[in-house]
């Protein structure tokens, strides 16, 4: 149960990094591949054991923070994770990040888009407060469109109320 979600997160990183970097990959490819939304987007993620790799960032630093129902305030655990992300970003200035906000399925579509944006913004503001340049960060909300866990119980909902920091090459805008 611990391995599977991490693998999914990593795959999500690969797919969405491609998705959100139209400058690098061309506007025409700025879309999720229909065959595999979580497919390899062409960025080398490196080895999980290489501390300089986005794969290490996702798996070891932790690319994901969780939120309470209908909330966008940061828990102490979320702050710890974000502080680690800020340290890693400080040490790796060649990378920028897109922070994705997500919601569980217990909400209407438009509201969840707005709620996801709040969550992504909370994470972004904390990273900035920890010294990450705002120009290296962007936010996006997926609302309830991309759940990580697919069951319809609180176990899954808790995993889906999240903000994910997706690393990509490039110093930002």
């Amino acid at each position: 149960m611990t391995f599977a979600p991490k693998a999914m997160i990593l795959l999500a990183v690969l797919g969405l990094a491609a998705c959100n970097n139209p400058d690098k990959y061309g506007a025409g490819s700025g879309v999720v591949d229909p065959g595999g939304a979580y497919g390899d987007g062409g960025i080398s993620q490196g080895s999980i054991s290489d501390p300089n790799s986005p794969a290490y960032f996702a798996a070891t630093v932790g690319d994901k923070i969780l939120f309470a129902v209908d909330q966008s305030t940061l828990s102490p655990e979320a702050r710890t994770t974000l502080a680690g992300q800020a340290q890693w970003l400080a040490a790796h200035p060649q990378y920028s990040a897109i922070i994705e906000g997500h919601a569980d399925e217990q909400g209407t579509r438009e509201y969840n888009l707005a709620l996801g944006a709040r969550r992504a913004n909370s994470a972004q503001e904390y990273l900035i407060s920890q010294g990450v340049a705002g120009t290296r960060l962007r936010t996006v909300s997926y609302g309830k469109e991309r759940p990580l866990a697919v069951c319809s119980t609180e176990d899954c909902y808790a995993q889906n109320r999240r903000a994910v920091t997706v690393i990509s090459l490039g110093a930002g805008s």
Binding site: G30, G36, I98, E110, L113, A114, N121, V140, V150, S152
Partner: protein, 439 residues
């Protein structure tokens, strides 16, 4: 005995002998009280040219489906008919139809020539023994035969209920495939009854919440094709689409046309906060309508364009508010238990449909525009996103099932809460938006 019972149970009868067809004795009052469907007879339309037999049968079947699908009408099977029509002009034997308890009789003829279909029909009030309204003749290219059938059914519905119909209309929606954590979505449009599904986009990116223009020729929707939610406007005729302008670094979503089709109200997110804005359909003149640290989204105009209903969590939870169309102080209208979202103003102007969440369940409901007389029409694990039929009598929405294998389907329900049923859409579907009646 029978006539008394019908009058008492269904309240269908008005005084006899009124000259105007719209006020004739054959009448359904569409209120909360219509429980007993009106029995009608629909002999297969007469094929008036040799090659029109199948077309006559198909058109008759669509008319039957339209009328019975409302829940307001019940068809008397053709096998029970006593009189048979060999020609459109055959005189009606009222006694034969009274004998099988038909209240309305529809007689029609179909002919084909040069790639065109011509349908003519008459509607009869069996108990008063007279024709209801004038006979009508409609023509179209043979590829549009379903629309001819819908138009006939709209006229019949209108003559009996006194209200405009909704059968000759379309629904734009999001077609869904794939697993729940990697759902593929694409825009599609279909006839209101699920026929003629046509895909408007591919599934290469997430698309959400399409909305028809007041004339039905354009669709606004939200797309992730740039990697971020943005609003796009699609021309239904040639399936070309263009992104609307935005302020860099923002997200824009939840668009809807103004009733005059000249402007768009939508949500814009900046720095984590979502407010309402509007702009011209050409993308010019973006102007802020709300300015609060709360979430303001899901805006919908009143039919006269003077007001906007929307949802906001400024009180701490999602609730419904109404404000002037140019912005200004909003008035809260929802005060029941739970959370209220996705308000949509009825085309008649009298009601607002919404999604309500309460105690772990989702409901589609309606309330008056001052928030009074709230009525919940549905309940399920996840119902959301109501859209109104062109006559404001039926609501279509998405219903999603729970769990890992959960999927979404379109449903419709009368505003009375009756006649809840799944709507065919050629597969899983969400976010329906009903067009106006087609011209």
């Amino acid at each position: 005995m029978l006539r008394i019972a019908l009058a008492a149970v269904a309240a269908l009868m008005i005084g006899p002998g009124v000259a105007l067809a719209q006020q004739g004795p054959l009448r359904i009052e569409i209120t909360d009280g219509v429980i007993e469907p009106l029995p009608f007879a629909l002999p297969q339309f007469v094929a008036e040219t040799g090659d029109a037999g199948q077309m006559a049968a198909d058109i008759t079947a669509v008319i039957s489906s339209d009328l019975t699908g409302t829940g307001l009408f019940r068809e008397i099977p053709q096998s029970a008919h006593i009189q048979r029509f060999s020609a459109f002009e055959t005189p009606v034997s009222y006694a034969d139809w009274q004998a099988i308890n038909a209240q309305a009789l529809i007689v029609g003829g179909v002919s084909m020539a040069g790639g065109k279909v011509v349908v003519k029909f008459r509607l009869f009030d069996i108990y008063s023994g007279q024709q209801l309204g004038e006979g009508q003749q409609l023509a179209a290219s043979s590829g549009s035969w379903r629309r001819l059938a819908h138009k006939v059914a709209d006229v019949i519905y209108s003559r009996i209920t006194g209200e405009s119909g909704y059968f000759d209309s379309r629904v734009v929606f999001v077609s869904e495939t794939g697993p729940k954590n990697a759902r593929l979505k694409r825009l599609a449009v279909m006839d209101y009854d699920g026929a003629n599904v046509q895909y408007l986009t591919d599934s290469s990116t997430i698309v959400l919440a399409p909305r028809f223009s007041p004339t039905g020729d354009r669709v606004l929707y939200t797309t992730f094709e740039t990697g971020f939610p943005r609003i796009k406007m699609l021309n239904v005729g040639n399936v070309s689409a263009q992104l609307l302008p935005e302020i860099p670094g923002t997200m824009t979503f939840a668009p809807r046309f103004s009733p005059d089709g000249t402007s768009i109200v939508y949500s814009m997110e900046q720095g984590g906060n979502t407010d309402l804005w509007k702009m011209g359909v050409n993308g010019s003149g973006a102007a802020r309508l709300t300015n609060s640290p709360a979430i303001e989204t899901a805006p919908s105009y009143s039919p006269d364009g003077s007001r906007i209903v929307f949802e906001s969590d400024r009180s701490g939870t999602q609730q419904l508010y109404i404000m002037p169309a140019g912005g200004g102080e909003p008035t809260r209208i929802s005060f029941g238990e739970g959370r209220y979202g996705t308000p949509v103003w009825s085309p008649r102007g009298d009601l607002i449909a919404f999604t309500k969440q309460h105690a772990g369940r989702f409901h589609i409901g309606v309330m008056r525009t001052d928030g009074s007389e709230e009525r919940l029409l549905t309940a399920s694990f996840l119902d959301e996103g109501p859209t109104w039929s062109p006559n404001g009598r039926v609501i279509m929405f998405s219903r999603e099932s729970s769990g890992a294998g959960g999927s979404s389907q379109l449903y419709s329900v009368d505003i009375s809460g009756r006649n809840l049923k799944a709507v065919s859409s050629g597969g899983a579907a969400s976010d329906p938006a009903w067009s106006p009646l087609l011209p």
